[in-house]
């Protein structure tokens, strides 16, 4: 079942410039879906449609197979189901302490004090930020802020978590912690949608990839499908994952017998190379 | 000759926490030097010492073998020699148009009208932003803002260009444009210092690498030297370049005959693999 879906979504900025054109995107229950595209392709604009912050100029957004209606009550329900973690955690953390920040969503939902406290504690525990309750967010590192921002969404118990560039600006360790966390949440059944332009990371985690360029979805499929079309990838200002690029060069320039699909991850390349060496 | 050097530089924040301890860093004339470290290791703090914005609590900063003195006149001279491009271009671009922003430095140096215009035109040409003179920065993309920020420094004709995380937040195409530009400037003789935590990019361009962690330089050497010490790399919250990681796994787990130093780039890996296949 697709828990999140857009059908021919179009969006124009107030001055008339088109931002999204006929976007068909869907995320199946329990999957991790990646939206890959260069800066300015429309990733963030599309995400803001998922919980009704933006309203399409044409087309429909569906959450759990129900088309969004934009009255206040239904919008509130949708926002509880679809949680968005914004790219820059500084835009998202606004309370004086970590604890108050994570409590912001649950309090707005109207939960009682005990339940709010329980959720705050649990979410901070999940993201590995227990013990930071009383700290002011601006004293945290980039990776820590990101994790608190995720906790703030977790605390609302969404069905779908949407993350805009979750690893941007983080060092390798920080990025890998976030991805492990998302992987764990996904394993536990949460549907996850991430946008990124980090092509080396996508194949490790995503089961479905969309490529967006200038407001159009120009490719979709499994990571293998998508990255086997180098031309589309490069036209969208992206590149192959480094491992795949190495294999591509070995095949094309050196005529080594690596057939497509090229391995995308270190693990896949290892298998492929071992096979070649054994032969 | 070292055009830029720090000798046992220590720096404490106003509240007393140490930010840098006994940092010895040097950049030789005409080289490209990378300062590699996780978020919060002290990279930006060290950079602000290079042009005298911060003053070390102990130790000396030397530019062209002359220790910095902090009177107004000498500091102005140092700032003409050492240009810093900040991580977030929004921190750096303040003027209403591209042209006025790039002209800011040259005008401060006291150049005459014609010379300023010549330099603005030339710098924008160099970074590929000619034609954007009258645009306000808020109409530019992230990569374009970055290039304008670089033009603003280029226009001051510095001897050394220092860039804090020049590729952070950029998509693959944007990042690669910036690195090509820096490579070209370096080829033409400019000394370049960059900080980054992108380990896949560093080996492609840098001739000398420093690793900084928690305010200490914990390793220095050529990219090969530095990345052959996996333990230090991982302790500093970093990782091996993906290509090197693949080779490491092939050697350690699969006992393929790849000796250290592992290849760091696609080009090096290609050579090594071809050699193996031929044998």
């Amino acid at each position: 079942m697709n828990v999140l879906e857009t059908k021919n979504v179009n969006y124009r900025y107030p001055d008339g410039t088109p931002a999204l054109e006929d976007v068909n995107f869907s995320a199946a229950q329990g999957k991790m879906v990646a939206l890959l595209g260069p800066n300015g392709a429309g990733k963030s604009t599309l995400f803001l449609h998922f919980n009704g912050i933006l309203r399409p100029s044409a087309g429909t957004v569906m959450v759990e197979n129900v088309p969004l209606t934009y009255d206040k009550k239904s919008i509130m329900k949708v926002r509880q189901k679809v949680g968005i973690v914004f790219q820059n955690p500084d835009d998202q953390l606004f309370a004086p302490t970590v604890e108050e920040d994570v409590a912001f969503g649950p309090l707005n939902v109207g939960l009682d004090q005990d339940e709010v406290e329980r959720r705050v504690a649990e979410s901070l525990e999940r993201v590995g930020m227990a013990g930071f309750e009383k700290k002011p967010p601006h004293h945290l590192s980039g990776g820590q802020k990101k994790r608190v921002a995720i906790a703030g969404i977790l605390a609302m118990s969404p069905e779908i978590m949407v993350l805009d560039e979750p690893t941007s600006g983080l060092d390798p360790k920080g990025a890998s912690r976030i991805l492990h966390l998302l992987h764990k949440l996904n394993q536990e059944g949460m549907t996850i949608v991430i946008s990124t332009h980090d092509v080396d990371l996508v194949p490790l985690y995503a089961s479905q990839v969309y490529i967006i360029s200038e407001g159009h979805i120009i490719k979709e499929g499994t990571p293998q499908d998508v990255f086997s079309d180098e031309e589309t990838i490069r036209n969208a200002n992206l590149r192959l994952p480094r491992i795949a690029h190495l294999m591509e060069i070995l095949q094309k320039k050196d005529e080594l017998p690596f057939e497509k699909p090229y391995p995308l991850t270190i693990g896949e390349a290892r298998k492929k190379l071992l096979k070649e060496f054994d032969e | 000759m070292n055009v830029l050097e720090t000798k046992n530089v220590n720096y404490r924040y106003p509240d007393g926490t140490p930010a840098l301890e006994d940092v010895n860093f040097s950049a030789a004339q005409g080289k490209m030097v990378a300062l590699l470290g996780p978020n919060g290791a002290g990279k930006s703090t060290l950079f602000l010492h290079f042009n005298g914005i911060l003053r070390p609590s102990a130790g000396t900063v030397m530019v062209e073998n002359v220790p910095l003195t902090y009177d107004k006149k000498s500091i102005m001279k140092v700032r003409q020699k050492v240009g810093i491009v900040f991580q977030n271009p929004d921190d750096q671009l303040f003027a209403p148009t591209v042209e006025e922003d790039v002209a800011f430095g040259p005008l401060n140096v006291g150049l005459d009208q014609d010379e300023v215009e010549r330099r603005v035109a030339e710098s924008l040409e160099r970074v590929g932003m000619a034609g954007f003179e009258k645009k306000p920065p808020h109409h530019l993309s992230g990569g374009q803002k970055k290039r304008v920020a670089i033009a603003g420094i280029l226009a001051m004709s510095p001897e050394i260009m220092v860039l804090d995380e020049p590729t952070s937040g950029l998509d693959p195409k944007g990042a690669s444009r910036i690195l090509h530009l820096l490579h070209k400037l370096n080829q033409e003789g400019m000394t370049i210092v960059i900080s980054t935590h992108d380990v896949d990019l560093v080996p492609l361009y840098a001739s000398q690498v420093y690793i900084i962690s928690e305010g200490h330089i914990i390793k220095e050497g050529t990219p090969q030297d530095v990345f052959s010490d996996e333990e230090t790399i991982r302790n500093a919250n970093l990782r091996l370049p993906r290509i090197a990681h693949l080779m490491e796994i092939l050697q350690k787990k699969d006992e393929l005959p790849f000796e250290k130093p592992y290849p760091l780039t696609i080009g090096e890996a290609r050579k090594k693999l071809l050699k193996e296949f031929d044998e």
Binding site: P96, P136, H138 | F94
Partner: protein
């Protein structure tokens, strides 16, 4: 409450320009003094001005369902004093006219007088007054922001009645005051509350 372009007869446009310019000029001298002593205060003043603009482009929720924009003059005056705040308000008003089409250019003098001079002066006097009387700073900020807001509207009513004293100044003024009282008192309270909430968080952050 901005007086819209074209609303005031030219004679009154001139009068309010003549009254406002010396005050703003005095503020400019003050700013010049501050920035000469302290070059880093220049970017700080600029970002604060930009903040005032952004704050004023927020639509304030209000009970009556109508929306209005916080004037921010209370905040500006408490932070920088009335003279500096009046210059910032003048620049913000020009930007509002040219970037949002709020207010006007011929009515700029009148708008500067009500929003950039009366507002900040009232806010500053009340804030100081409450502080000297030993009142809580938050109460001071609430009263300063709310009353600055309210007196700005009263000034606008005064300006309009002077321009259109029909049948008499008093009757016109009473008419304008009635309209404003109904619509603006809730908004003044809203601005006061918002300013308090903002200050409260700033203190905690």
């Amino acid at each position: 409450m901005h007086i819209m372009e074209g609303f005031l007869p030219w004679q009154w446009c001139l009068v309010w320009y003549i009254i406002s310019i010396p005050v703003v000029a005095y503020g400019v001298i003050q700013i010049k003094k501050i920035t000469d002593e302290n070059p880093e205060s220049k970017p700080l003043l600029a970002v604060s001005g930009a903040f005032m603009f952004v704050l004023s482009s927020l639509k304030l929720p209000s009970v009556t369902g109508s929306c209005s924009h916080p004037t921010g003059s209370g905040l500006g005056a408490v932070l920088f004093g009335p003279a500096v705040a009046s210059v910032m308000a003048a620049i913000v008003l020009v930007f509002q006219a040219l970037l949002l089409a709020h207010g006007g250019l011929t009515t700029l003098g009148a708008n500067i007088f009500s929003m950039g001079i009366v507002g900040p002066v009232v806010a500053w006097l009340i804030y100081k007054g409450v502080k000297n009387a030993g009142g809580s700073p938050l109460l001071g900020i609430f009263l300063a922001a709310a009353l600055a807001d309210l007196l700005t509207y009263v000034t606008t009513a005064l300006q309009l009645s002077l321009a259109f004293p029909v049948p008499t100044f008093t009757v016109a003024f009473t008419n304008f005051m009635w309209i404003f009282a109904v619509t603006q008192i809730p908004l003044a309270i809203a601005e006061g509350l918002l300013t308090v909430v903002i200050f409260d968080y700033i203190m905690k952050l």
